[in-house]
Structure formats: C-alpha cells, structure tokens
Amino acid sequence: MSVDGKPIGPGLSRKYLLGADRNGRDVAVRLLYGGRNSLLVGFGAALVTATLAVSLGLIAGYFRGWADRVISGVFDIIWSFPVLLLAIALGTALAIGGLDLGLFTIGGSSLWIPTLVIGLVYVPYLGRPIRGQVLSLREKEFVEAAIAQGMRPGRIMFSEILPNVTSTILVFGTLIIANNIITEAALSFLGAGIQSPAPSWGNLIGDGVDFLATAPHLAIVPGIAIVLTVLSLNVFGDGLRDALDPRAKVRLR
C-alpha cells in the first residue's frame, strides 16, 4: 500500500489496470502518457538529427573544400565524444538550469532538452554517410547537366541530389528513432532525460526497479513497451532497407 492507501503492486482491478505507483498514481495511465513523451522525444530527436545531418551533409559533399573540412571536423569532434557521457552531462546540466538562448528560454523540465541533446549527439551517424553519398552523386551526369542548365547550387542540392539520398535518410531515420527511444529511456533512467513528475518509459522503469521485490510488473511492463516499440521500428527499418536497396536483396544461389 502506498501513502494514501491505494494499492502498489499487482492491483489488477478494473479501476487500476496495473496498480498504482508509490505516490498512488495509476501506472496504466502513466504508461500511456509516458509512451507519448518517449515517442515524442524519439521522433523529435530524429527530426533534429535528420535536418542537421542532411543540410550539413549536402553542403559538405557538394561544396567540398573548406566547407567540407569544417563540417567533417565538427562531425569528427561529436563522433569522438563518448556519446552517452556527453548526453548525460548535457541532460543533467540543462535539467538543473534550463537553457537561455536570449530569444527564447527552455525550462529545465522541458521535453526540448532531451530532444535536442539526443538529436545533436547522433548527427554524425547520419551526416557522414550522406556526405559520402553526395560526394559521389555530385560527379554524376545529371548534376553536370543541371549545372550546364545554369541551376543554382541550392536548387541542385535540393531538387537533384536530395531525392537520391532519401532512401538512406529513411532507412537510417527509422533506425535512429529506435535508437533514440532506447537512449531517452537510458537518460531518463539515470535522471538526465525527461524530468519527473512527467512520465516516460525510462523513468517508469527507474521508479519500478525499487519495487522489483514486491511489484515486479512496475519495471517489467514499461520495459516491454520499449522493447515492442523499438523492435517494430527495427523490423520496419529492415524491411524498408530491403525494399529501397535492391543490392540488399541478395540471396544464396
């Protein structure tokens, strides 16, 4: 029993489908709202990663020269950071004080913080392959034709080259969303992601781990939710790759 007499533990009643947590909050409801937060951060961070990685990758690969050197250098630096360490450090630091960017401020418990932190640390993982592809695509005849027609670089990048890297973006994007959901869960579990009292699957597991002896379902159920979501995204990503990349459909004779 928790403080106000509502059941902790497997109170599988009609009213409390999964019982209540130590503060008497309905776990089933928190699981649903937590899922919303976890998915928002997972997809939002992937959007941040994709936007930055695609624009930087296009610029670096298309212009080469010093633009490429600067952008590749930035990728190298982020790549070399111990990712989890960086994300935890940023997440913890920002959760305490929030972020004041002059024009707008982000509160310490805002969902934006884990979204931006996770989105930023994975930029090189998508940016590098895109840059590589753009480097080879820009030598193709259709780009040459576009240049000969007098097309400006911006238009060539977005309407000639970008469509050719969409399959990479889609496949990597799906896998990055899956990865983000796990990263967010890990950060929240350590207290560096979504901040309590807002629920997320990660901090539900974190709370539940203390009750493994009396109410194991508190930690197991949100974990299963993560596994099923991430598993579906991974299966979907695999299928997408097979569908978009004919080379991947190799079969033994």
Binding site: P82, I88, G202, A213, V235
Partner: protein, 316 residues
C-alpha cells in the same frame, strides 16, 4: 604510409583539444553551473562564496581558467572541486574494473556474433537463419539497463545464483572475479552480438555474389578454401572496423549503464557520479579519457585500413 599515420595521429590530438574546450565551455555557460555557489552549501554566505572563488581561481578570465585546468590535466594534478580527490588516481582505480568488464564482454560478443553470423549466412533462409535473425533483432531492441536490472534481480535476489553486484579484483580472487563478472558480461554483450551477427550475415551474403568469388570457383578452388580465404576474409573487414569503434566507445564510458547497475565501481560509474554533482574536473578528466580511447581506436582502425587498402591512403 608514414605520412598518413602521422597526419592521422596529429588530427587525433586536435580533436582531443577541441573536446576539452567544448566540455569546459558547456560547464561554464550553463545556468546554476557556478561551482562556487554549490561548494558554499545550501545557504551561501557571500563572503564565503567570494573566498571560494578566490581559492579555486573562478575569478580569473575563462581562458586562464581553461589553461590552468589543462596544465593540471597534463601534470596529473587535476582534483575534484567537491571532494578534492585526484582525478587521475580515481581513473586509474576504476580502470581495471572497466577493463575486466569491457574486455571480457568483447570476447563474448565477437565470438558469438561471428559464430551466429556465419551460421545464419550458411543456412540463409532456413530455420537456423530465421532463429538467429529473430534473436539478433530482439537483442538490438533491448534496453541494456532494463535487462541488467531484471537479470540482477531474478538471478541474484530470487535464486541467488550470482553475487549482488560489486567487483572483486582478478589478482585477489580469480574465481570470485569470474563469478562477479558473468552477469555484467552477458548484459553488455547482448546488444553487440545482435549487431555483429546481423552485419556479418549480410556481408557474407553480399560477398558470395562478388566476381572474385566466381573467379575463384572457376579456377577450381575447393569450396572450403573459397569460404575461408575469399568470402570470410572480405566479409570480416567491416566487422574489424566496427569492433575497433565499439570497443573504444565501451572502454571510453559506453559501459556506464552496465557499470552503474552492477555497481562495478569502474570509470563509467565514476563519470556518472561526477556528472550528478556537476563536478567539472572529473567530468573533464573522464571525457578526455573516454575520447582518448575512441579517437585512438578509430585512428588505429583507419591506419589498419590504409595498410590493407592503398586507395584510402591516396584519397585520405
């Protein structure tokens, strides 16, 4: 080759310097990051805060503070703001624990990952392949900390098969060491086994359709020789690269979750504790330590690659 190696190592050095500057800046621009206020306690007395600022040099201009920190880092004199412990000593104390965890787990994940990858490719499309594919994709979808917590609870507290976390040095008691490491090794390697077996499977299936394999077969080489000398050799190259990067990342703080759950007192756990108190010197120390392993191994991978494939040397 020598020029490539020198250039790659010089680049590594610059990346480390850049990382230290970024870490320093992050922890100096965040609000509430003022270490003097935190050191002064719950109800800070302005005079005490001023004194702490003087003592720790927080009043100096930022570049001077950075230079002082880096000087201390290179001399090994970096000390925690919150409890005055020497960062290098703490890192060295945690290193054997992290090394035990990561090296042991790496052996498990490489052996099983490669084994499963080869089996899946050999029986492509049949039951063993399906099974391994399913295990692999489930493996990469599991949150490490969740698996660790459940394993720890059910195998330790429920049936007491394993010790409840903690670390026993190998030199002290090898049997206890092994006994304490089994669960952490399992937890850390599950994810990588999934990745490696999937990658190797698709690499092998790509390689068997290459022209040089057809040539080898046309030359009349035995199937066994084709498999080991031509297919496996080429299919394993990306695995070697990936292993270099993963091993560096795990050594450099990536095992932070596994260490925390099993209370292994390694470098990752030290980093997590320092981050919790926003203690800049240990954070700087662990970030540099972690990044060092990551950049070192990725430089080694690149150099090994250039050694194997001359095309990279020319373009890099």
């Amino acid at each position: 080759m020598l020029r490539f190696t020198v250039r790659r190592l010089a680049q590594t050095f610059f990346v480390l310097i850049a990382l230290s500057i970024i870490t320093f800046v992050i922890f100096n621009v965040i609000p509430n990051g003022d270490p003097a206020l935190r050191l002064a306690g719950r109800t800070p007395n302005p005079a005490v805060v001023q004194q702490i600022r003087e003592d720790f040099g927080f009043n100096d201009p930022l570049p001077t503070q950075y230079a002082n920190l880096m000087e201390k880092t290179f001399k090994g004199e970096l000390e925690s703001y919150s409890n005055g412990t020497n960062v290098r000593e703490e890192l060295l104390r945690g290193l054997p624990n992290t090394a035990s965890l990561v090296i042991g787990a790496a052996i498990i994940w490489v052996v099983l990952g490669v084994l499963f990858g080869i089996l899946a490719a050999k029986y492509a499309g049949r039951i063993p392949d399906r099974l391994i594919t399913i295990i692999g994709i489930v493996g990469i979808s599991l949150p490490v900390f969740w698996v660790g917590a459940l394993l720890l609870y059910y195998l330790t507290f429920k049936v007491s098969l394993f010790p409840p976390g903690g670390y026993t040095p190998l030199t002290e008691d090898p049997v206890q060491w092994l006994y304490h490491m089994i669960l952490p090794w399992t937890t850390l390697s599950i994810l990588f086994i999934g990745f490696y077996s999937r990658l190797l499977r698709s690499n092998i299936l790509d390689t068997v359709n290459e022209d040089y394999v057809r040539t080898a077969r046309a030359k009349g080489l035995s199937e066994r020789r084709i498999t080991t000398r031509h297919v496996l050799r080429n299919a394993l190259i990306p695995i070697v690269t990936l292993f270099g990067l993963d091993f560096g990342a795990a050594f450099g703080g990536g095992a932070i979750l596994t260490e925390s759950i099993f209370n292994l007192q390694g470098v990752g756990q030290y980093a997590a504790d320092s981050i919790g108190t926003l203690d800049l010197p240990p954070i700087l120390g662990t970030v540099l330590y972690g990044a060092f392993f990551i950049v070192l191994l990725s430089a080694l991978v690149d150099i090994a690659y250039a050694f194997l494939d001359p095309r990279i040397r020319l373009s890099g």
